[in-house]
Symmetry: C2
Subunit: 353 residues, 2 copies
DNA sequence: TTGAAAGCGCTAACAT
DNA sequence: ATGTTAGCGCTTTCAA
């Protein structure tokens, strides 16, 4: 194994000069730097990351906590973040907690400066305050933080729920749909209690997109009907909800779902009940995951700017890591989006991407 | 920041004893170990991973190279591996190369012992030999290595292509399908050349499942028809292939596809052409990814044992990491599978999971 | 602009 | 079973 000391010797400089050259510091004379770099290349020198991390206190590794990698929304986010970090010479460790609050807290408790420089968190169960209690001053950034303002400890990158829902409702209205139902919150807008009840933050996440959809409907003068119980934003929850809706005697000509999984489940469930999409009921999703582009019907949805989320996240994270003491107010950045008009609202054969 | 030295002092032992206690070595007396652990907990001691890695030469981090995290097959594999490693107290860095051979080679060249203990590779373009040239003796394990025997340098975990294809063909035959086409290799079983041509390994991967399906068909006395060109195993390739097949005058009552994406594309494409699945043509996939369970029709497919793949991979990797000098013949382990009979062969409403 | 010296926190080898 | 000592390879500080 070739060490920096050996490279320095062969290049005829001191280890500290070689180090500076390797790191591209502009205090070394260009010809000296070139000599060091050439020597390093010739000897096939590899930086020892452990030693660098121990001495400098920087690992150049980041951690991301997400519920599940098989969920396409999180996979897209992780993919974008990993690629963007790689472009900065940094690497990402992804840890999943399967939507379990305790597991996430356990993961947070194990995070320390010697294993990564910062942590990106897409939490479905913990508030900024709870995360802060585990992490103290460790650099962190949240995706879709739904903490109440007094618990918002961290910068947050947010999916464009408000503008996206508005665009979807406008789209449905423009198609003449008037009896629009919103799928993806809890019954009666009331937080359920007891066994298996969601945590505050899970409730807030579900409530958020519901509220924005309702807002948009009111803006168009449409009556906001009851919200529907869904245990989570999954395909299966969508299928069950569709069966319930049909059993109750379907009173909608459109269903605006909080995410794509739910929407795909709704479509499948309606089809199982013999309800045609979009002839009888138009359906919209949110997130722009892949399956919506090839199911039949294809899914009208909002595609968030994932690369933009990743880039912004890394910018904000790096400013935290480099200026750890700048305690400013947490910022909330909302990224851009695109309305994908497809068959679940337009009809089969229409709206090819 | 609390160091091990401080913990040792407060516990009244030497640093090396404290170190051994923290690592759970059984050479320390139980009461001594307890004293150290209690002190560590009280002081909220966190192991410095960088220092440990520098001294011990082990990072407890592994790397995984895959083409794409948005591809559900790789997401499932990465998810299983990450979870299984976490259960061993180890972490996983996932790097994607977007199916680019050069990018993967670049990633391989950057892998060194100071950044991870081993690398798991699901390569679509590099042979064992090419990987070996980049990695030398660094611990590595491949998924679905298709290298010719003389280029098989590494242990490999394989999806059950042979048994799985046999089960699918048997299933189709039992349903009375006789004119079965295989989708997922190149035209005329000949390696294409020229612009955009696939690499050897990409060809071998495509050829593998085709061959096993053809084998199974011959075992059932069925004629093996031409294979179909697909540029890759993607949904879009499936859609295009379906349109081509219909244009040529569909001569099949079943299409056996090399993976789920291709099958989902085939189904979509056939539907676009007004061909009914499975009434006119039954379709099968391979991999068992999520969308196949909720598209209409749902997809009959083979679900590999992903957790088994991950567990076996980690076992084999750990034996490499712990006994680096044991140069044995590379092993090939084929994992188990499950045939999921669903609507794309049975008909709508049948075969609920 | 370059060099000399110190030491990050831990574990391994050896001594007791 | 525990302690002593040394040093992994790098970057940082300070001096020249």
């Amino acid at each position: 194994m070739v060490t920096l000391k050996e490279v320095a010797q062969k290049a005829g400089v001191s280890p500290s000069t070689a180090s500076a050259a390797i790191r591209g510091m502009d205090i070394v004379r260009p010809d000296t730097a070139k000599r060091v770099l050439d020597t390093a290349a010739k000897l096939n020198y590899q930086i020892n990351m452990s030693a660098r991390a121990l001495r400098s206190g920087r690992t150049n590794i980041y951690t991301m906590l997400i519920p599940d990698l098989e969920n396409q929304f999180y996979a897209k986010l992780a993919n974008a973040l990993s690629n963007e970090l790689a472009a900065h010479g940094k690497r990402l460790i992804v840890q999943t907690n399967n939507f379990k609050k305790d597991k996430e807290l356990e993961q947070l408790a194990q995070i320390s400066a010697s294993m990564c420089d910062g942590v990106f968190i897409a939490s479905t169960h913990n508030t900024g305050r709870e995360i802060h209690e585990a992490l103290k001053t460790f650099p962190a950034l949240l995706f879709d933080d739904m903490s109440p303002d007094e618990d918002a400890y961290y910068d947050s990158i947010e999916t464009p729920s408000q503008a996206g829902m508005h665009a979807l409702i406008r789209h449905l209205v423009s198609l003449g749909r008037k009896r629009i139902g919103i799928v993806g919150t809890f019954a009666d807008n009331v937080k359920p209690v007891g066994k298996g009840s969601p945590t505050e933050i899970a409730f807030a996440i579900r409530q958020n997109r519901y509220d924005f959809a309702a807002q948009a409907m009111q803006a168009y003068g449409l009556p906001v009907d009851d919200a529907f119980i869904v245990s989570d934003w999954s395909v299966n929850a969508g299928i069950e909800t569709a069966h319930q809706l049909v059993k109750q005697g379907l009173r909608f000509d459109a269903l605006c779902c909080a995410n794509d999984d739910l929407a795909l489940g709704i479509i499948r469930g309606l089809l199982e009940c013999g309800v045609r999409v979009p002839e009888d009921v138009a359906v919209t999703g949110f997130d722009g995951i892949a399956p919506g582009s090839f199911t039949t019907p294809t899914l009208t949805t909002i595609s968030s700017d994932y690369q933009g989320m990743a880039q912004t996240a890394i910018d904000m994270m790096e400013s935290q890591v480099e200026q750890p003491d700048e305690h400013t107010m947490p910022r909330r950045i909302i990224v851009g989006f695109q309305l994908l008009q497809r068959e679940s609202t337009l009809g089969f054969g229409a709206g090819k991407d």
